[in-house]
């Protein structure tokens, strides 16, 4: 196994002995430097996966490996240094009275020396474009800014993997854009695997790979293009396809031959352009 990946091996999990299985024999791998999206209906097990990855929960069956190390109570502190999490509600993630205190908090927990902390506060606030807000009170920031600070706090611990559990769900359109841009920038600048758990289908189209969960099982694994070509079947399991996929499908029904499954506006426009110039 590669050193820089997360692996789920035949993982099953339930919250109590007498409650139904939330995850059933789930196996998959998150590779280094990739952007993986996990989608699925409410209750499909997505968030449980996130909590298992950094030892907030432990499976009853199967094993989870982070960079080659098995996730067990004895290893969670090491695992948590590597696996950072950003959650849905930005207001629930603040502990410090200023932005810089907040970014420092995680590092303090990991016992980093002061000089390193000072340096990393700058570096991580820079990375999310919040360097000017260092001395501000977190509650005065906009939703998108708060989430960027939350991301900076995680970055400061220098994780190998970052998990975003519906991190844009409570944001306004601008806030969502800010977060997606921040994730793209981080991925292009550092060695980092990103896992986004989301209901937002346009966000999914930006990932390298998608895992679709259904009733606690891996229903499908593939590129966004593969996944969104399964239109009707996605709807059956409580999901949907993005606007572009729907429009492309209807265009095919209207008799327009498309050369491939378009994923975003640009690709669909290119298809139209080709059709328009060859008629």
């Amino acid at each position: 196994m590669e050193k820089s990946q997360i692996e789920f091996r035949n993982v099953s999990f339930r919250y109590h002995d007498d409650s139904p299985w939330v995850l059933k024999n789930v196996s998959f791998t998150i590779h280094s430097d990739e952007w993986l999206a996990i989608i699925g209906h409410n209750g499909s097990g997505k968030s449980t996966i996130a909590k298992l990855m950094n030892g907030l929960l432990f499976p009853q069956e199967g094993e989870i490996y982070v960079s080659g190390e098995k996730v067990v109570p004895e290893t969670i502190w090491d695992v948590r240094k590597q696996v950072g999490m950003v959650f849905q509600n930005p207001d629930n993630q603040f502990v410090g009275t200023t932005v810089r205190d907040d970014v420092a908090f995680g590092m303090e927990n990991h016992g980093l020396p002061r000089e390193v902390m000072v340096e990393r506060i700058q570096e991580s606030l820079d990375a999310v474009g919040m360097q000017e807000y260092e001395r501000q009170e977190p509650h005065r920031l906009s939703g998108g800014q708060k989430q960027r600070v939350a991301i900076a706090s995680v970055l400061a611990v220098s994780p190998k993997y970052m998990i975003f559990d519906e991190a844009t769900a409570m944001l306004d359109p601008k806030g969502r854009m800010e977060i997606m841009q921040t994730i793209r920038d981080l991925q292009s600048e550092r060695s980092l695997s990103v896992v986004t758990i989301t209901h937002d289908l346009r966000e999914v189209t930006q990932a390298d790979r998608v895992i679709v969960m259904n009733d606690g099982e891996v229903w499908m694994e593939g590129t966004p293009r593969d996944v969104f070509s399964k239109k009707n079947r996605l709807v059956e399991i409580g999901l949907d396809t993005p606007f572009v996929s729907k429009l492309a499908e209807e265009m095919k029904s209207a008799g327009l031959p498309l050369s491939r499954e378009p994923l975003n506006h640009q690709e669909l426009l290119e298809e139209l352009w080709t059709l328009d110039s060859t008629r």
Binding site: H41, N42, S142, A169, E250, M251, A254, H265, L275, D276
Partner: protein, 290 residues
Amino acid sequence: MDIRFDKVSYVYQPNSPFEHRALNNLSFSIESGSFVAIIGHTGSGKSTLLQHLNGLVQPTDGEVTIGPYQLKAGVKNKQLRELREKVGVVFQYPEHQLFEETVAKDIAFGPENFGVDQEEVQARVKDAAKATQLDNSLLDRSPFDLSGGQMRRVAISGVLAMNPEVLVLDEPTAGLDPSGQREIMEMFNRLHEEKQLTTILVTHSMEDALSYADHILILNHGEVYREGPPLDIFKQKEALEDVQLDVPEVIEFLSKVKEQHGVEIPYEGQTIAELAKELAEMVRGGRDHE
């Protein structure tokens, strides 16, 4: 019920260093029976506005009129209880407010609290559960054993059991999966029609504002920035971007088609299938390039 805001201002922590003017001389009116979407970036004043609608806060200045009820700066309103019976508010993540042992008890809590007699309460519980498509078999279960989507329906049923005339929805689909989002919005749309409600939807989803509202109000810095029918509002892409909002995806796409192909396909509420036909017509030359 008709709703009118007349020069309403609301100031948090006045005369302190933290003074913050959330609503600023805000005036607008909502006709009884309409479906209004209120949009605006985080901090634009949406939540403060919403809290005025059932008297959770009182204007610092100006006057709010909701049907026969008035909230006026400096005047104590003695009919708040009645107002709260008429205006049902579904707050964000309303399932966090569930607390009773059974679904039925949770739905009954509101009307019981307002002194509705038992027989009537039971009838309302059944009606409300039906309206939100909660199966009767769930009524005796603990609400905490249900899925997230079902819990939200229970919480909404509790609001409906008050028989409100005005329904205020604060991001009712946040956190739900795509099917759940669609089902909940279709449900509110149906209730709006059937019960002839006045519905006020606070949302970050431009798609929902476009699909369901007949009127849109955009807030910015506690003031009305734009208002009008959705199709007019969403023609103003730049004006929306100036206040950190965007246009629904269908309109964004059609504006790119216009840029690249020089062909304007105006959006008038067509279905995706209808749009596909118009695009097919365009590339087959059915429409002349301008």
